[in-house]
Amino acid sequence: MDAQPDEEAQNLLAPVSFSDKLTEHDLTLTRGKTVTAQINTGLLCNQACKHCHLGAGPDKKEVMTPAVMDEVVEYVRRGDFEMVDITGGAPEMVPDIEYLVKELSRCVPNMIFRSNLTAIGGNGYKSLLKLLADKKVSIVASLPSLNMAQVDSQRGTGVFDKSIESLRKFNAVGYGCEKTGLMLSLAVNPSGAFLASPQVGMEKKFKRDLLNKHNIVFNNLFTFNNVPVGRYRGWLESSGNMAGYILKLADSFNSCAVSGAMCRTQVSVNWDGYLYDCDFNLAEAIPLGGVPTHISETSSPPEEGTEVAVSDHCYACTAGAGFTCGGAIDA
């Protein structure tokens, strides 16, 4: 089946649709070997960030149940994945998240846990922090800027200070420190309607400034473009930035970035167990293969060579250097 979303979902005012842009460049977006399972544990979050593509927040009730967690574990075991990437919302806030981490750690050699750096701040999450360290789970933490005003403007009042506090906690248990094997990476996205900064320069700057000003260390920094869906799309529209941002993304299309796009090697599992090509298609309810498919109904990851469903928001992952779930694609 042709895995294309409906016309309405594509309507982002791009001068040329993403699908047509691929055709212009004689490209198709098809899967390579699917090695990563990204598990979205739900929309519950203690923050309501302006750039959130999912519209996650404190009032959301959608979280993964233990029953779906068991199905996820079975799916990951069957799929022989190399990596599991746990995200949300704030996965820290999902009841039974420790159960999921423990069970998945038995199935895959590598795990990522995405943290917004404020949900894990309270004392109630000490055991989770210890579990993540014990299982050598890599942390990818969100910190869009080293400027308090810009962080708080995007993520909520007081978030910058709490984020710095949490980074110190991660350092205290060995994350980001030499010879511990505990990887701490930062995810940096623009705090507005502009493109992400070059990754290498930003990593140098963040390492220097976080060490000098806050005595904090980390391993890697990944930069991402904001994807114009969900709450971020609402902000772009209400602030009058939508047309300019879409034009900038489309003008920055880099055909070389298509082959490195994250959707080629990962599959996203929603909190209810349904499958998507990526977390952005998940946000837009564009199902994997064009048909809603539950993890209990499939025996293996999507096959190599199958088509990835595309929409105009895909321009965000092919602008400039291009982006994967691990940040900008190496040149």
Binding site: S145, L146, N147, A149, Q150, P190, G192, F194, L195, A196, S197, P198, G201, M202, K205
Partner: protein
């Protein structure tokens, strides 16, 4: 013409080449080379450009280099400091001419 400045004019900058293509090519080639990574990073050069934009008070330049600075990874604190550098030099340039005022005054005064 309702106004001398319009945001819609900035993307038309390259059209200036239609009047004198060879000169425009030389200018834009030079311009690209100036802003490429060198001994200074692209981020540092964008901050300098932002400060100079405020000195020459070019709304096109302020628009363009504010966005460039953000995309190169500068934050509002750094950008505001850069503008203050322009302000200090511009203000200082006025103030230092006060020495001329003093010289003239001394010459003609008893």
């Amino acid at each position: 013409m309702k106004t001398y400045y319009s945001p819609d004019d900035l993307p038309k900058f390259a059209e200036i080449g239609e009047g004198a293509p060879e000169l425009a090519k030389k200018f834009f080639d030079y311009y690209s080379s100036v802003f490429a990574e060198g001994e200074l990073t692209e981020r540092e050069k964008a901050l300098i450009a932002l400060a100079v934009s405020h000195t020459v008070q070019c709304p096109y330049c302020i628009d363009a280099y504010t966005k460039t600075c953000l995309e190169k990874g500068s934050n509002m604190a750094e950008m505001t400091e850069a503008v203050h550098v322009a302000v200090a030099i511009r203000g200082g340039a006025s103030l230092v001419h006060g020495v001329q005022m003093r010289n003239v005054s001394e010459k003609v005064s008893m």
